[in-house]
């Protein structure tokens, strides 16, 4: 495993919803090494405010040396990032962390909530490229509304997956919570991959445990360094604290102490 610090040119900036942005960077070294579930630390500005880099999952990584990030504007850092112009050079460090383990051949289910969808597209693409029959795999995506979901859903569909949607306002798919959809899917899959809001993941992990289906989750915590140096990114594991940036962000759900995280 190797990571790089690179000045990366911003190649494209698409707004999927008013506050949901997809950025594509020229990042050859990162793109070549990245695996689904890994992330990058982005310096959103050259100045000192905000000071720390921001972590984002790699949403797409392409053989042409580009990577994409998909994120929602929620605070100072993402606001600045969303306003960077095509042509700007940003300083990225990555790929970082431990990604998804997707060596199996049995049907799987990818479950993304909100921006948790970001790493799953990269995973979906890699799964598809491994030559499997993606029609047997399931993709469940949830977000606030149709605007946010539609463009992403199409990209999963284009890869051949059976995609089901849930939206908070019912503007597309099931109105409500994504885990509601899981009942019907769990019996036919051997592995669940999920990323999204904590409550959603907790619920999914519970269902998986009952159904005895293996589940990998991608976690978010506040990170100062992203590479195991600050020890700031801990969460409670069953056998003590674990560091999300190095031991994760993807964990086998069983190792985590869900009640305390």
């Amino acid at each position: 495993m190797s990571e790089f610090q690179q000045k990366c040119t911003l190649l494209a900036r698409d707004c999927l919803a008013p506050d949901v942005v997809r950025l594509t960077f020229q990042a050859p070294k990162i793109a070549v090494t990245a695996r689904p579930g890994q992330f990058v630390m982005v310096r959103v500005i050259d100045g000192l405010d905000p000071l720390l880099r921001r972590p984002f999952s790699i949403h797409r990584s392409s053989a042409d040396g580009t990577i994409s990030l998909l994120f929602k504007v929620i605070g100072k850092g993402t606001e600045i990032l969303a306003q960077r112009c095509v042509g700007d050079q940003l300083d990225l460090v990555g790929p970082l962390g431990k990604g998804f383990d997707f060596s199996g051949e049995q049907p799987v289910c990818l479950i993304g909530g909100g921006m948790g969808i970001a790493p799953l597209l990269f995973l979906a693409e890699q799964l598809e490229q491994s030559g499997r029959e993606t029609q047997k795999d399931h993709v469940l995506l949830g977000a606030r509304n149709k605007d946010e979901l539609a463009p992403l859903a199409e990209e999963f569909s284009a890869l051949g997956y059976a995609v089901q949607l849930a939206s908070d306002d019912g503007s597309v798919g099931h109105k409500g919570f994504i885990p509601d959809l899981l009942d019907f899917v769990l019996p036919s899959v051997e592995q669940v991959y999920t990323c999204g809001p904590h409550l959603m993941m907790e619920n999914i992990v519970g269902q998986c445990q009952q159904a005895e289906v293996s589940c990998q989750v991608s976690l978010e915590t506040h990170m100062a360094c992203g590479m195991g140096a600050c020890l700031g990114c801990t969460v409670h594991g069953k056998r003590g604290l674990v560091h999300v940036c190095k031991q994760g962000p993807v964990f086998n759900a069983d190792v985590l102490a869900w009640g305390e995280i």
Binding site: S2, E3, F4, Q5, Q6, K7, K29, R43, L48, D49, P50, L51, L52, R53, D91, V93, T221, H222, M223, A224, C225, M227, G228, A229, C230, L231, G232, C233, T234, V235, H236, G240, L241
Partner: protein
């Protein structure tokens, strides 16, 4: 792997340029740029991003006698031009450190300084004893910003007598060069520096973090599970620089400057104020190449100023009216 920003011309400068070697007591450094404890892990974390052989020295994460799990999360939060941390001194303990981390560190030619911490005077002594004679340990840095459990949790670093006793205990237990790292959370840091000087320290390093706090207005909870934490980063640089200047004037020991250093100019400020070396802390997080860039930038500064040797600028701040 680090993106190679340097062109060949600059490479040559590094070979033929000014002499940037410095001396911290008996510890000779190829350049004054060290990485600060707790911000550079055990160095290996940065091996792909930084040429570790270019650093002046590496100070590893603080080591205690027994392993420590650290504080519950959240442990870090960003503040204006700074950050708060309440890691709680998580570490594997001195024995596992020696067994598990020293092998890699020994493989580097860069001197390794081990930062140590304890709950009691005896514990400091004991850790020092276990590290004494361990191959590859170039010096000890004693973190006295820890609470003295026997004295109701008052930090060793806030009382001159307690700081002196810790220094003596380590001095007795080990022949290694002894750096005492001072806390800035005191009325008079010069008193602290003098106390550890008399107690046998070979150098002082300063500053450790300022104690701070942040609150989330929405949840009405502290942003750190530990409520309070240590403030670091560019925000604290002016305080650190002032303290380094005060201490450098008051003691004969070499002083190592720490606090918010991000650029070569920052490093030079500390050296003009009297520091013989500096440590890069929080900057490693937001710019892993900071320490390496500072090494290069110091060379550039000396050339621009027409100086042949870095040691000649230490403490040359002009404070007269002229």
């Amino acid at each position: 792997m680090k993106e190679d920003y340097m062109n060949p011309a600059e490479e040559i400068v590094l070979c033929t340029g000014p002499d940037v070697r410095v001396q911290i007591g008996s510890l000779a450094l190829r350049n004054p740029v060290m990485t600060a404890s707790g911000t550079f892990g055990y160095a290996r974390e940065f091996e792909n991003l930084v040429d570790l052989e270019r650093l002046g020295a590496i100070v590893v994460k603080g080591i205690s006698l027994q392993p420590k799990p650290g504080n519950p999360p959240p442990r870090v939060v960003e503040t204006a031009c700074g950050m708060l941390n309440a890691i709680g001194l998580e570490n594997v303990g001195v024995d596992r450190f020696i067994a598990g981390k020293m092998k890699y560190l020994r493989s580097l030619t860069t001197p390794v300084v081990v930062n140590i911490l304890g709950d009691s005077v005896e514990e400091y002594g004991e850790i020092a004893r276990r590290l004494d004679g361990v191959e590859g340990v170039a010096a000890l840095e004693v973190n006295i910003s820890c609470p003295n459990v026997k004295k109701g949790g008052v930090a060793f670093g806030t009382m001159p007598e307690m700081a002196a006793r810790v220094t003596e205990a380590v001095r007795e237990a080990s022949g290694l060069p002894l750096i005492v790292k001072l806390s800035p959370n005191v009325t008079d840091i010069v008193l602290m520096a003098k106390a550890v000087e008399e107690a046998g320290a070979d150098a002082v390093s300063l500053i450790n973090t300022l104690i701070g706090m942040a609150i989330d207005p929405m949840s009405r909870k502290p942003r750190l599970a530990n409520v309070i934490g240590g403030l670091s980063g560019p925000a604290i640089k002016p305080v650190a620089l002032r303290m380094v200047w005060q201490v450098a004037q008051a003691v004969a020991l070499p002083v190592i400057g720490i606090g918010g250093i991000t650029t070569a100019d920052d490093a030079v400020e500390f050296m003009l104020a009297g520091a013989s070396a500096i440590q890069v802390g929080t900057a490693n997080f937001y710019d892993p190449s900071a320490a390496e860039n500072i090494v290069q930038g110091i060379t550039g500064y000396l050339q621009q100023q027409g100086e042949d040797r870095l040691v000649d600028i230490i403490g040359t701040l002009k404070t007269g009216m002229a």
